[in-house]
């Protein structure tokens, strides 16, 4: 974590509000995006949906990587929304060397890029691979595991929007339990996605003892930039998992993308952590804990949990996942019970919000 000259940790927010206080920081610690000379790895004109979390995440990730490498980098992209919306022939939004091959092979292509650069004596050029959660945790996982195991000099970034959004919002191994997708529809006695163990790719990466693993969200772009910078300070296999809400797939307002990501983090449903060589080294503590319900309630993919009847047992089950994350990583200190956790009856008026309104 960044500290002041006196060693005090710098908190990137103003007390009492959710606003990120760029102007409170020394110039060198401000977000790269506030600088006139910022890089622009993913430039304007692409075809992403309004409010796309992945476009935002990818731009911050690659810009931060470009700063960290002085622009000496090559990007490999898995098939998916990010690839489709950025390169409709004959245009491209990329201002970095960029290669797309297939859906499931981006980690292996990136390994090959790194090997090729090494063979050509161009070790100064670094490699960043990126894909969505389907390309990463499902179809590309074997190749990713191979890249980890060989410790190839690649940062692989997964933009997790919890499903196959490019093909029309189907379930992936990273889709949360109970969520509605086109292949886990809201019908039958147990509507939405099944409760399984899912694929927690960050923990799977940590189990490979790779150099650096981190999770982040687009709700905290400075944290995201900082993690990319740190990732690029290591050589060898690295993994970054970024939560990127998808207004189309999640059934949220375009303007609610950042807020939705923040609620995922503040509820503990998406833990923000860092691990070096197999050990968790830091966690992003929850500032103001909210119940998982606050995260779920405005998402169309979870609407069936609230109407026509409230499905309290499912909400509790999802809350238990967040509670387990909080306990596992110590995301709340001191560990405190949630305010207002008593389940209201299905006919009761909605519980009052436990967090202040977000400006």
């Amino acid at each position: 974590m960044t500290t002041t000259d006196l060693g005090m940790p710098v908190k990137y927010y103003q007390v009492g509000s959710w606003a990120v206080g760029n102007r409170l920081l020394d110039p060198e610690r401000r977000s790269g995006q506030s600088r006139l000379d910022r890089s622009n790895a993913l430039t304007s004109g692409h075809r992403a949906c309004r409010g796309c979390g992945e476009a935002l995440g990818a731009r911050y990730v690659l810009d931060a990587a470009m700063r960290a490498t002085g622009g000496r980098m090559v990007t490999v992209n898995a098939t998916g929304c990010l690839e489709v919306f950025s390169t409709p022939y004959p245009e491209t939004s990329w201002r970095v060397p960029w290669l797309h091959s297939l859906f499931g092979n981006a980690p292996a292509v990136a390994s090959g890029v790194a090997a090729g650069l090494r063979a050509l004596g161009r070790d100064d050029v670094r490699v960043v691979a990126q894909g969505g959660d389907g390309g990463t945790v499902d179809i590309g996982m074997g190749a990713l595991s191979g890249m980890f195991e060989r410790d190839d000099d690649v940062l692989y970034v997964c933009y997790d929007n919890g499903g196959y959004m490019n093909t029309g919002v189907q379930r992936s191994g990273a889709t949360p339990p109970a969520a509605r997708t086109a292949t886990t529809q809201v019908v039958g006695p147990e509507p939405g996605n099944v409760f399984g163990q899912g694929k927690d790719m960050a923990r799977i990466a940590i189990a490979h003892d790779v150099r650096y693993v981190a999770t982040a969200s687009i709700a905290d772009l400075r944290d995201l930039e900082e993690k990319v910078t740190r990732a690029m300070s290591f050589h060898g296999a690295r993994y970054l998992h970024v939560l990127v809400p998808c207004p189309l797939g999640w059934g949220t307002e375009s303007a609610a993308t950042v807020r939705t990501a923040r609620l995922a983090v503040e509820s503990g449903f998406f833990p923000v952590i860092e691990a070096v060589e197999g050990e968790v080294t830091s966690v992003r503590r929850i500032r103001r804990r909210v119940p998982v319900e606050d995260y779920l309630v405005d998402q169309g993919r979870f609407a069936h949990l609230f109407k026509p009847v409230r499905r309290q047992e499912v909400i509790d089950h999802l809350q238990a996942i967040a509670d387990r994350n909080i306990a596992r990583y110590g995301l709340v200190e001191p560990v405190a019970a949630l305010p207002s956790s008593a389940p209201p009856a299905p006919t009761a008026p909605p519980a009052p919000p436990v967090r202040p309104e977000v400006p």
């Binding site: 622009g71 000496r72 980098m73 090559v74 490999v76 992209n77 690839e83 489709v84 390169t87 409709p88 022939y89 004959p90 491209t92 990329w94 201002r95 970095v96 060397p97 960029w98 290669l99 797309h100 091959s101 297939l102 499931g104 092979n105 980690p107 292996a108 292509v109 990136a110 390994s111 090959g112 890029v113 790194a114 090997a115 090729g116 650069l117 090494r118 063979a119 050509l120 161009r122 050029v125 074997g142 190749a143 595991s145 191979g146 195991e149 060989r150 190839d152």
Partner: protein
């Protein structure tokens, strides 16, 4: 240098002489001896290249996609199921126009699982957009790899060098392995047409919709059509630096005044040459046409070579189930409309030996052949299998049966 050497080691040495910069390896029989030997050359410092042991065949070829895209010379080898595993990447390499060279040690496809030689693996990828070369001997296999790198980098296309699994890969015979000095004189360092470079960023592998996809494929077709045009000159040049003949488009043998010509790919060409010698001695006017280039199909050259033949027999080590010969269709198309009597002989599937005795009967009694023959079909085995098939259900409990 002339040496007694296993086919796989001869190929490994020829590949090493081409100075690949990235090699990806994943084991599958019968190609493993090639990547084992290359790993030994790398580990012992005789070959300076990045050698990646990867997690599957798709990753093997995908790694080469990345390496080739930054401008490295790349190589891998596979067989059979491995080629199918990487099939998605096989088409992708061709679409990207990356000059990857890959050995396919030809082996049957399952089920039933079978590790022995036929051509069903590479034939399954014949429309993938790769150039396909076929070796008739281990000498040809070694030479074709040198030719493959030069050809691939000349036309910006990937090249598959097919050699019969076990029959060639595991056979020890005399091979004059091209030495590094000769190869250096023949094969300049790889100078990519375009590459990923931070100093001049490009996007490779972009999405192309209906407005331009046909044109992309048309351009690829035109590029393929250049291959039979440039290959003879590249072959002549290779022969010059080696000081001996080198393989090219075709391998014609005793075609002069032949009224019956047998067309084949791979190691069976050598057997057929012996058979033709015997048949000629017995007064039959027969010859052999081996195809070194199979994709793109050298139609003009084949038409010229078969101009005098009144009967053509195509010996194939793969076939289109329910249809018949694969190479036969290519031959028919290249001869149309003046197609002579044309017969398909499917031989040597799943490693069954294609014997001189069986081929002798084919060559000498070609006029009696039906359109499609399965060589050495075992009628007793078929009768046994027929009897089993006649039993209504096997291994299904009675209560499950309707």
């Amino acid at each position: 240098m002339l040496q007694q050497v296993e086919g796989s080691k001869a190929v490994a040495a020829a590949v090493a002489a081409c100075r690949p910069q990235v090699v990806c390896a994943y084991p599958i029989s019968p190609q493993t001896h090639i990547v084992e030997q290359i790993s030994r050359l790398v580990k012992s410092g005789q070959l300076h290249c990045e050698y990646l042991n990867v997690d599957c065949e798709t990753s093997a070829l995908s790694g080469l996609i990345g390496a080739s895209a930054v401008g490295a010379r790349t190589y891998t080898a596979t067989s059979s199921q491995g080629l199918l595993h990487m099939a998605e990447a096989v088409f992708n390499v061709a679409g990207l126009g990356l000059p990857v060279v890959m050995t396919v040690a030809n082996r049957a496809l399952g089920a039933p699982i079978n590790i022995w030689n036929d051509h069903s693996d590479s034939m399954s990828q014949r429309d993938s957009g790769w150039v396909q070369l076929h070796a008739s001997s281990n000498q040809a296999a070694a030479d074709l790899h040198v030719l493959a790198f030069r050809l691939a980098e000349t036309v910006s296309l990937p090249v598959m060098v097919c050699m019969d699994g076990f029959v060639l890969t595991h056979a020890t015979e005399r091979v004059d392995v091209p030495d590094a000095a000769a190869v250096d004189a023949y094969l300049p360092p790889f100078a990519p047409h375009e590459r990923l470079d931070p100093d001049d960023p490009v996007s490779l592998g972009a999405m192309v919709g209906p407005e331009a996809f046909t044109e992309v494929r048309y351009v690829a077709h035109r590029r393929h059509q250049r291959v039979p045009e440039v290959l003879p000159a590249l072959s002549d040049e290779l022969a010059h630096v080696l000081g001996r003949p080198a393989p090219g488009l075709l391998e014609p043998y005793r075609l002069e005044d032949a009224d019956t010509v047998v067309v084949a790919l791979g190691s069976v060409v050598g057997t057929l040459q012996d058979v033709v010698d015997a048949a000629r001695a017995a007064g039959h006017r027969v010859g052999v046409l081996g195809l070194a280039l199979y994709r793109p199909f050298p139609a003009d050259a084949v038409r010229g070579a078969l101009a005098g033949a009144s009967r053509v027999v195509v010996v194939e080590r793969a076939f289109q189930t329910g249809v018949g010969g694969i190479v036969t269709d290519d031959v028919r198309r290249s001869l149309a409309p003046a197609v002579p009597a044309l017969h398909t002989v499917v031989a040597g599937l799943g490693g069954r030996p294609v014997t001189r005795a069986s081929l002798q009967a084919v060559v000498e009694r070609a006029a009696d052949l039906p359109d499609l023959t399965f060589l050495d079909l075992d009628d007793a085995l078929l009768a046994r299998e027929g009897a089993l098939a006649a039993v209504e259900r096997i291994g299904v409990p009675a209560e499950v049966a309707p």
